[in-house]
Amino acid sequence: MLITRRAEFSASHVCAQRTLSPEQNKQLYGAAANPNGHGHNYVLEVTLEGEPDPVTGMVFDLKKLKELIQQAVIDPMDHRFLNYEVPPFDKIVPTTENVAAEIWRRLEPHFQAGRAHLNNVRLYETEDLYVDYAGLVAEDLG
C-alpha cells in the first residue's frame, strides 16, 4: 500500500555552473540562470510503501511523517535561497532534479528500519514541471 503526504515550501535559487560562461549558462538553463536568482512555491509529495500495522491500522503515523518532513526539508529550505543557505547547493546546481534527490537523501535514513519504506519523492517546481525520484535505480546510473 502507498501513502502520500504533501508539503510546501517557498525558496529561491539560481541554476548556473561556475565553470560555464554566462552565455553558456543561459543556453543551458534559460531564465533560471539569471544571476540574482528567482523563486518557486515548491510542492513536495512524499510516498511511503508498506503494509498497515494490524493493531494501529496504519502504514506509518502521518503525524510523524509530517514532523520528519518539517525537520528534514521544510525548516531548512522554506524561505531560503538554496544556493547560499542550503548545502549541498553551494556546490551542486539546485535544479529540481538535484533538490528532489537531496530531499530523498535527507528522508530515506528515517525509513530503513520500520515497516514502511520510502517509495518516491515527487517535487513540483511549478504546476507544469515535476520530478519523481525513487532512489538510485538503473537509469540513474546511466
Binding site: Q17, L28, G30, I92, E97, A101, Y130, E139, G142
Partner: protein
C-alpha cells in the same frame, strides 16, 4: 529519475465512425457524436526518464523538450478541429485513446532528433480530456 512536463492544447473533435450507421453512432458516442463537433482543453503530461547529468543536474533539457512537443504536437493540435485538420484522423475516430496513440507516435518519431543520446528516453504520456477522463500510455 523521471521529469514530467505539462502542456495544454485546445481542440475540437467529433466521435463518429463511418463504419457505423447514424443510430449506432448516436447510441455508441452519445452527444460526442453531435454533427458539428465540440471541444476540450486537453492537458498533456510528457514524462522523460534518465540519469541527472552530474554537471548540469538535469535529466532533460526542458527547453529542448518544449520545442519537440511544440513542433511535433502542439502546433498541429492546438486550436484545431482534429477530424478535419489532422491527416491521422481522416480514417481514425479521434477518441482520447486514439489521440494519445497518435501523440505518442509523433513524439517517438521526433525524439531521436531532439535527444540523440542514450538518455533521456520517453517514459510515457498522459492525456487529460477533462478532469474526469484521463488516459495514460507507457512508451
Amino acid at each position: 529519475m523521471r521529469v514530467t512536463r505539462r502542456y495544454r492544447f485546445a481542440a475540437s473533435h467529433r466521435l463518429h465512425s463511418a463504419a457505423l450507421n447514424e443510430d449506432h453512432n448516436r447510441e455508441l458516442y452519445g452527444k460526442c457524436s453531435n454533427p458539428y463537433g465540440h471541444g476540450h482543453d486537453y492537458v498533456l503530461d510528457v514524462t522523460a526518464i534518465g540519469p541527472a547529468d552530474p554537471a548540469s543536474g538535469q535529466v532533460v533539457h526542458v527547453a529542448t523538450l518544449d520545442r519537440l512537443v511544440s513542433e511535433a504536437v502542439l502546433k498541429d493540435f492546438d486550436h484545431r478541429y482534429l477530424n478535419a485538420d489532422l491527416g491521422e484522423f481522416q480514417a481514425l475516430v479521434p477518441t482520447s485513446e486514439n489521440i494519445i496513440r497518435v501523440i505518442e507516435d509523433r513524439l517517438t518519431a521526433h525524439w531521436p532528433d531532439a535527444f540523440p543520446g542514450e538518455w533521456p528516453r520517453l517514459e510515457g504520456i498522459r492525456l487529460r480530456e477533462t478532469r474526469r477522463n484521463v488516459f495514460e500510455l507507457k512508451s
